[in-house]
């Protein structure tokens, strides 16, 4: 009886979250069968780029409580690492992509160290400054990066579908990786740090180590996403690191559900596809998402995933109470 008791709760919840994530990714895998339009397939690929960034930011903000405003900057860094390596040294993607992961991870590690003792608005502002500095460095180092003109990046595949399934495979790997990470004690430590850093330290959680790990891993995943995006779009520019991009990533995570597995990736698709539809209306898309973020953080803190989960639970509870009443 006891073993089952322990199995319930958090672990059961995480398993459900994993299954729903896999369901979302399965649906994404089937999407090209329905949508033959190349343009829309491209939209889905970019959605997957954002889904990776959202998952990475969720690890840092949702699970570890570190509200960094630099996720887009790490995507940009990843894109530029592989882009610059190929532009200057003809390095193939096989070299560029791993390099993007490592360099982004290292920069994430350093940023994590710098902001180690900062909380709340100070953390947000420092990471924001960091993001802007990196973007300005890239856009002003014209001899190296061609500045705002952007950089052409070689493609990897001949067909869009190949990119599509490569992105999907990586997104699946990221999602599975996060699931298995969060199931280990690391998941406990990160959430403990999020909830109360002082209490976590008093229980023996190595605060410095785990915060830095979260920053490093989140940055590495973002760098990977950016590198893949660069090869798909065959172009990177400082616009990848704009704060508005970070805004989109945050809105995806908040709308989907901070600190949940399926929420951010599901919402990445919803938000990015919606933004495609809203594109015709000019700059209103960002306002819509900003409003949604406010509404969700005020009224639905667990996001769409929280709403769904509660709806499931109510549906499951209803037959049970009906039986009990009989």
């Amino acid at each position: 009886m006891k073993a089952e008791d322990v199995q319930g709760g958090t672990r059961a919840r995480m398993r459900t979250e994993l299954l729903v994530s896999l369901g979302i990714l399965a649906a994404v895998a089937l999407l090209p069968a329905i949508v033959a339009n190349e343009y829309w397939r491209g939209v889905f690929i970019v959605s997957m780029y954002f889904a990776m960034l959202a998952a990475a930011w969720n690890l840092l903000a949702g699970y570890t409580g570190q509200l960094s405003l630099a996720p887009a900057a790490f995507g940009m860094i990843g894109g530029y690492v592989t882009g610059l390596l190929s532009y200057h040294y003809n390095a193939p993607p096989m070299v560029g992509i791993p390099a993007a992961i490592v360099v982004s991870g290292l920069i994430g590690f350093v940023l994590g160290r710098i902001v180690l003792r900062l909380r709340g608005p100070y953390l947000a502002l420092t990471t924001l400054s960091f993001a802007e500095i990196v973007r300005l460095i890239i856009s002003n180092s014209i001899e190296i990066t061609r500045g705002d003109l952007g950089l052409n990046v070689p493609g990897i595949f001949d067909h869009r579908l190949a990119y599509y399934y490569a992105m999907l495979a990586v997104l699946l790997a990221v999602q599975l990786g996060l699931y298995f990470l969060l199931r280990t004690p690391a998941g406990l430590y990160l959430r403990a740090i999020r909830d109360d850093e002082i209490a976590a330290a008093s229980r023996g959680v190595k605060i410095v180590l785990w915060k830095t790990n979260a920053f490093t891993l989140s940055a590495a995943i973002s760098g990977l996403a950016g590198a893949l995006y660069g090869h798909f779009a065959q172009f990177v520019s400082p616009e990848l690191g704009l704060i508005s991009q970070t805004g989109i990533i945050i809105s995806m995570v908040v709308i989907g559900g901070l600190g949940t597995l399926p929420g951010p990736i599901g919402a990445a698709f919803l938000v990015y596809i919606a933004s495609e539809f809203l594109r015709g209306f000019g700059g209103y898309q960002l306002i819509v998402f900003a409003l949604l973020v406010i509404i969700f953080s005020r009224f639905f803190r667990e996001g769409l995933w929280g709403l769904l989960r509660r709806a499931f639970e109510r549906a499951r509870a209803r037959p049970a109470t009906a039986q009990a009443a009989e």
């Binding site: 430590y189 002082i198 330290a201 008093s202 229980r203 190595k206 605060i207």
Partner: protein, 239 residues
């Protein structure tokens, strides 16, 4: 060699001397009561012992090893476990996970941590709340949970800061019984409390602080009848 040696530890906040050359030792297996009027420096001392504050002067040795400069997580790993006067927990994690954090961080395997957590939940009458987020627990239940977290791995020394505040008498009895049993099994404690009957019942030895200094340190009954101690408490009442 004493388990804990506190040697002329001082700490000021601005003009306030919270600790003024506080000294005492605790031997392994002792259960020492720590009392004193409000603001006498008890919590400040616990904060220094557990690494949350650095002393301005003086030294603290744990098993003969100086602990100055060590981080709270390092001290926790060395076996200094504490509770907070203002209870701390992980509100968005389940009651069970709150305990598992401590178990895993101190090196228990996942299985061992679960077994241990279930025992503690059982002992502290929290079993039926184990999947509830700690943020939904009542004030007293949180006290019990934090108390339990200290004992996921038997600590070298447990520093309990007002563990009974806001706890129902029945649960208080359960906690007192828990402490008594652990003490009998050799566990070392410092127990901060304003609850004199519990101190009398549990602690063979009591230390009384006033204005950051130790004013009495002997067997509990003697301390509680010491005119200096009575004066300290009366002084507070008069002020």
């Amino acid at each position: 060699m004493p388990c804990l040696l506190i040697d002329r530890v001082s700490k000021s906040f601005g003009g306030i001397k919270a600790l003024d050359r506080t000294s005492f030792t605790v031997d392994a297996g002792e259960l020492v009561g720590l009392i004193g009027p409000n603001g006498s420096g008890k919590t400040t001392l616990i904060n220094i012992l557990s690494g949350y504050l650095a002393a301005d002067a003086g030294r603290v040795d744990l098993d003969g090893r100086p602990t100055g400069g060590l981080r709270p997580e390092t001290l926790a790993a060395l076996g200094v476990q504490r509770t907070f006067q203002l209870t701390r927990s992980f509100p968005r994690m389940s009651t069970l996970d709150n305990l598992l954090v401590a178990g895993s961080a101190l090196g228990l395997s996942q299985e061992a941590a679960e077994t241990r957590a279930l025992e503690l939940l059982e002992d502290l009458a929290l079993v039926r709340l184990m999947h509830l987020d700690a943020g939904h627990l009542s004030g007293g239940q949180l006290k019990l949970l934090e108390f339990g977290a200290c004992f996921m791995v038997p600590p070298r020394i447990a520093l309990l800061d007002e563990p009974f505040a806001a706890v129902h008498p029945t649960m208080k009895e359960i906690m007192a019984g828990f402490i008594r049993r652990r003490h009998a099994a050799g566990q070392t404690f410092i127990l901060v409390s304003h609850d004199m009957p519990v101190i009398v019942e549990l602690c063979p030895r009591t230390i009384c602080m006033n204005a950051g200094a130790v004013i009495a340190d002997e067997n509990t009954r003697a301390v509680l009848t010491d005119p200096v101690v009575i004066e300290a408490y009366l002084g507070e009442a008069a002020a």
